[in-house]
Symmetry: C2
DNA sequence: CTATGTGAATTTATTCACAGCA
DNA sequence: TGCTGTGAATAAATTCACATAG
């Protein structure tokens, strides 16, 4: 099964695995069995084995999987093996939280630019990043930034997305509660907090 | 196919449908065809028809679906047909963004309590909600709050989750980047921003 | 004897195609 | 004729069971 496309659901689990591997690596572990890893990441052992089998030979029978090899390979598959410069647009409460969030570095993301439209904020430095006017988004191309996080109000989101696409951005993580339309060569992932919350009561036991 | 369990993936799409219906409702529309709705919510028409067919008879052949009936019914399925009082724990940047976010009301969620451990913040009022000490979480039971949003650092998340469970909370929306362990009668949905971002380069076209 | 790796079986979800009602 | 509603076909993902390697 060496040459096989990786199912979408597996790709979805890859960052979860990566985080688990990182934790084991910090503990100085060299290898881990599918059983032990299952407990850590909350996925069945057979699911883990099948997922890993889609992209190669990282296990040793009787021993387990090489943490280091696996980590490197998952990073490569997800294209997290290079530094990904990322821009942030919208430095309100949510944007500030994103700037302060240390979790991005784990995956090789570095926020190297921040934009806002509020003249009060422009020129300020937050978390070591100077806030620029949104009209400067067009400079992202020459700054080699291909990823952006959008944390602006819904009413501004499409316009910002257009500017980002115009500046050569290839991937957008969208926090605004609107479906932004982009050319299909650009990938958008929208996070809708309210929708995740909306699913919660369905899965809650009867009160 | 009238009496059929609703597939998980359909439940997942329900909040998306609900938002679309709400938008149509605001425009004063009475009914919508699966084709027109498909464009709005970005799901195939046949998928929409199949999904709707799992829970009843809301369409009229030749015309379309009754927006009002459908909205009410989806709300009922998701148990969004009642006011869901919600607590927020952690009023940092992210927590403040959550408090200010208007999208929750759409789905019947009202944040009626906010907690933090910072003495500087306790007693302050933000967005009309007084910030209380985290030690007061135990009062949630008598205040009839069964839902909570956790926006605290990872190191504090498990402890906060324990307190919430102790106070009778049945559902937790977790923003902290750790897997919290709760009794299985409690449902936790964890949002991991960094993981969503981590999936983006995989889906981006080669730079 | 332990733990991987993988075909085969099963379950779940999507897509199709069209009968049937307004 | 237009659009829903749904069985049947297809596709995708999960689970199982076991041969195989260390």
């Amino acid at each position: 099964m060496r040459y096989h496309r990786i199912p979408n659901e597996t790709v979805h689990r890859l960052p979860i695995y990566l985080r688990g591997l990182l934790r084991l690596s910090e503990q100085g572990r060299q290898s881990v069995s599918s059983r032990a890893f299952a407990d850590l990441v909350n996925v069945n052992p057979w699911q883990i084995r099948k997922d890993f089998s889609y992209f190669g030979d990282f296990g040793t029978r009787g021993v387990g999987y090489s943490i280091d090899k696996l980590e490197k390979h998952i990073r490569k598959i997800l294209r997290l093996d290079v530094v990904n410069k990322t821009a942030l647009v919208g430095v309100g409460n949510l944007g500030s939280a994103v700037l302060a969030y240390p979790g991005f570095k784990t995956y090789g993301f570095y926020i190297t630019a921040a934009f806002d439209s509020d003249p009060e904020k422009i020129g300020n430095t937050i978390e070591g990043i100077e806030i620029e006017d949104v009209s400067k988004i067009c400079t992202l191309r020459e700054r080699d930034v291909h990823l952006a996080i959008v944390a602006v109000p819904g009413s501004a989101a499409q316009q910002i997305a257009d500017a980002l696409v115009g500046a050569g951005v290839k991937g957008i993580l969208n926090f605004s509660p609107v479906h932004v339309i982009v050319p299909k060569k650009v990938k958008v992932i929208t996070i809708e907090i309210a929708m995740d919350l909306a699913r919660l009561p369905y899965y809650m036991p009867a009160s």
